[in-house]
């Protein structure tokens, strides 16, 4: 799967994009967040408060319980501030 990080998530995680093989115990976005937090450091910090975060699965605004497949593109970002 492709993971994308925007705005301060990109800065905290130290990357804008990464490729990841869907881990065996990751069924939903929530599972993926737990998996990423276990990396510690910037990832633990970036995902510390989910209320400050949003997620899009395959370019659609999605919820934390969205099921995931290995072919998905998952993007994490703070609430949007365009316009």
């Amino acid at each position: 799967m492709t993971l994308l990080y925007f705005a301060w998530l990109r800065q905290k995680t130290g990357r804008g994009e990464e490729q990841l093989s869907l881990p065996a115990d990751v069924k939903t976005v929530s599972d993926l967040v737990l998996f990423l937090k276990k990396r510690g450091g910037g990832f633990e910090d970036a995902f510390a408060d989910l209320r400050r975060l949003r997620v899009a699965v395959n370019q659609d605004h999605s919820g934390w319980d969205t099921p995931l497949r290995d072919s998905d593109e998952v993007a994490f970002f703070p609430p949007v501030t365009g316009g």
Partner: protein, 147 residues
């Protein structure tokens, strides 16, 4: 009928309206968002999620089309580093009558602010900081839900 552009360069409002115009247009409402000159703000940098941006804006524009009888919608959003006084966004809506044009234009702005994947970073006195989303923008978008 729906034109969406994400670009680093500036845009010309009159030219965008001219392109938008249908023969039976009676009303054109536009909104232009700008970088305010305020305090020690020296620049604003806009980042976006390229794969998602146009899709999400097209979805919002399509939603507006189902709510009001529109003849044309143009949305231009700039990205990159902008200076105080620069234009950020243009929403232009053509319709036969003015209320459809006004309401759709306000609706599109409210949804752009809360759904389109853009993020602003401010430069103030040499330091950069991400702009926080405003609750008032969520409320503004929420008012369309019951309509």
């Amino acid at each position: 009928m729906i034109a969406i552009r994400i670009q680093t360069g500036d845009f010309d409002i009159a030219a965008e309206i001219a392109k938008l115009d249908a023969e039976n247009t009676g009303a054109v409402a536009t909104f232009t968002g700008k970088v305010r000159k305020e305090g020690d703000l020296t620049a604003l940098t806009l980042e976006h999620y390229p794969q998602m941006t146009e899709r999400e804006i097209a979805r919002i524009a399509g939603d507006a089309q189902t709510r009001w009888p529109l003849l044309g919608v143009t949305i231009v959003h700039r990205i990159g580093r902008l200076l105080p006084g620069d234009k950020i966004v243009l929403v232009a809506v053509a319709a036969q009558h003015r209320h459809a044009a006004f309401e759709a234009c306000a609706f599109l702005m409210d949804y752009l602010k809360t759904r389109a994947p853009f993020w602003k970073q401010e430069e103030r006195g040499g330091k950069t900081q991400w702009v926080e989303a405003r609750e008032s923008d969520d409320r503004a978008a929420g008012r369309w839900r019951d309509k």
